[in-house]
Amino acid sequence: MIALLKRNEALWLFIHSPAAIIAALVALAIILGAAFAPWIALVDPYDLSSFSLFDGLLPPVWEDGANPKYLLGTDDQGRDMISSILYGARLSLFIGLAAMTIATVLGVSLGLAAGYYGGRFDAIVMRIADVQLALPAILTALLIDGIARGLLPADIQQELRVWVLTLAIALSLWVNFARTARASTLVQMNKDYVQAAVMMGQRPIRIMFVHIFPNILGPLLVIMTVDLASAILLEATLSFLGIGLPADSPSLGTLIRIGMQFLLSGEWWILWIPTLFLVALVVSINVLGDFLRDVFNPRLR
């Protein structure tokens, strides 16, 4: 009943917040475009036979010398920009979502357990979290990536690139989830329903995930949104630095890295269009995160 009211209230706030609506529409458009990229995109950027060098460096349609077939122009290889971006956003979103999911599962499990059991386990988890919090996420991700490069042989390296990157990002973002989950769990631990479940002799795993977890979902949802944006940004930054995805399977960050080569020549669209997409995606997710925070935190309103 309360959940229903909350949902209605959230809906009410949503339709009265133009910023949240625009952000949701932008994010939805990019997410749908990325999800259905293989069906929407004009060419397959991974398939060399689907595009031709003769179509290279065509500007977007509103500029002189454009080919109306390629709405936002082509890059130096003759790849349609829209197709590259849709496939790039697909990879960026996949890595972002996967990293966020892993970070959530890991962080929430550790946080719940730390809050539930307390004592030495709690102390160890929180000390690790403190140390990691002192290091900026990008440094942690770079370090984990570097270690993976050292441990894995070169041929497996290339195949597992996406997963190494996902894991590196996930391991640098779990701390937020763990801290929030722990703090919320500590609050719930004093409530009667938890005490009752303990008295009834239910197993700790069941108490943590069936009883406590649904009650700490609100704040976690906010962090999930904000961290999705962080994960996408981290991936883009790593790929831009040349540590992330290679040029033959480009994410948005890799596309921007490639576009940098055209900064000094006139082909502005190769750099700026992927950049615009990345910023639009991240800004809209952040705006949605801010909106959710307001919904779940009435005091800030």
Binding site: L135, G146, T275, L278
Partner: protein, 324 residues
């Protein structure tokens, strides 16, 4: 006071030991140092002999102790990639990164503190709203995009400023500085702004929040009622009480500045430690990675120690609590 600092010193020592241990584990377990040092034609017997000579068969604790001892004497080993001593490679790069970071921090404070005070005092004004909107964008736009935008605008379109490298530098006792040439300053502007923007938004938001908090407190209301002039009230009474959190963020931001300098240095091809660290990751140059970590941790610890001492110097209440 002395007890407080001693406690902090001991804590710092443990942090450094932990980081040294991490660097040592990297060095010891990620990739085999022997295969890195020898070629394919080295026989197994020779490899074993080398392993014994280098003490890689010794107990773990002995090896770690030797590693730490070497580090304390300034012996950081050799790079896998360039075969040069790591200490020299890093030392060459430290001035570039520190100068960039310091200028970025100064920008973030000089712009961030007044902007934070202003937006706190006039929260509904048009200027404040504009500043707040801009910072929201500043938080969402990634550092490297800000760098590219600055390069495009001031480097490519307007052609006012150089877009890569450090420009002219002057050697001062082994410290390669770009503070003493016009060219060096011109090269420093864009990277420093890029690095400073994110920190600036943090500084501004924190000062704003603190200032609003302080303005609500009883002593400010009392001072207002007593008829203390507004300017004196804002800048002497209120701002002084926001200084402790501001100093905290300078300490915290230092880590951010160092980390994001990796990105900024990459965008502007700034020859600092961050660029070296990136190269070392790309080539799996473990010794350089490890030493970079230790050096960064060292700076971090020193800055935080200074911050702790400043607390005590700035806020008399801490001294009282310490004595009690």
């Amino acid at each position: 006071m002395a007890y407080f600092i001693l406690k902090r010193l001991i804590q710092s020592l443990f942090v450094m030991l932990a980081v040294a241990f991490l660097a040592f584990s990297l060095f010891r377990f990620v990739g085999d140092p022997i295969t890195q040092m020898t070629g394919v034609e080295t026989s197994v017997a020779d490899q074993e002999r080398l392993r014994e000579e280098l003490g890689l068969n010794d107990p773990f604790v002995t090896q770690f102790a030797r590693f730490t001892g070497d580090m304390l004497q300034g012996d950081f080993g050799f790079s896998y990639r360039t075969r040069q001593p790591v200490a020299e490679m890093i030392a060459d790069r430290i001035p570039a990164t520190l100068e960039l970071g310091i200028v970025a921090l100064i920008i973030s404070l000089i712009v961030g503190i007044p902007a934070g005070v202003y937006t706190a005092l006039r929260p509904r004004g048009v200027v404040s709203q504009t500043i707040l909107m801009t910072t929201l964008i500043g938080v969402s736009v990634p550092t490297f995009v800000i760098g590219i935008m600055l390069i495009y605008l001031f480097g490519v379109q307007l052609g006012w400023l150089p877009t890569f490298g450090r420009g002219g530098t002057v050697q001062i006792g082994g410290w390669e500085s770009s503070f003493f040439t016009v060219d060096g300053w011109r090269a420093l502007i864009l990277p420093a702004i890029t690095l400073g923007v994110y920190q600036l938004t943090l500084t501004m938001r924190l000062v704003r929040a603190e200032m609003m908090e302080v303005m609500r407190s009883d002593y400010i209301r009392f001072a207002t009622a007593r008829g203390v002039p507004m300017r004196r009230l804002y800048f002497k009474h209120a701002l002084a009480n926001t200084m402790v959190p501001v100093i905290t963020i300078i300490g915290l931001q230092f880590g951010g500045v160092i980390a994001f300098s990796i990105v900024t240095e990459s965008v502007f091809q700034w020859p600092g430690m961050g660029l070296l660290f990136l190269e070392s990751i790309r080539f799996v140059d473990i010794p350089v990675m490890g030493v970079y970590l230790v050096v960064i941790a060292f700076f971090f610890v020193v800055v935080n120690l200074i911050v702790d001492m400043l607390y005590v110097a700035i806020d008399p209440r801490l001294r009282v609590k310490d004595a009690a």
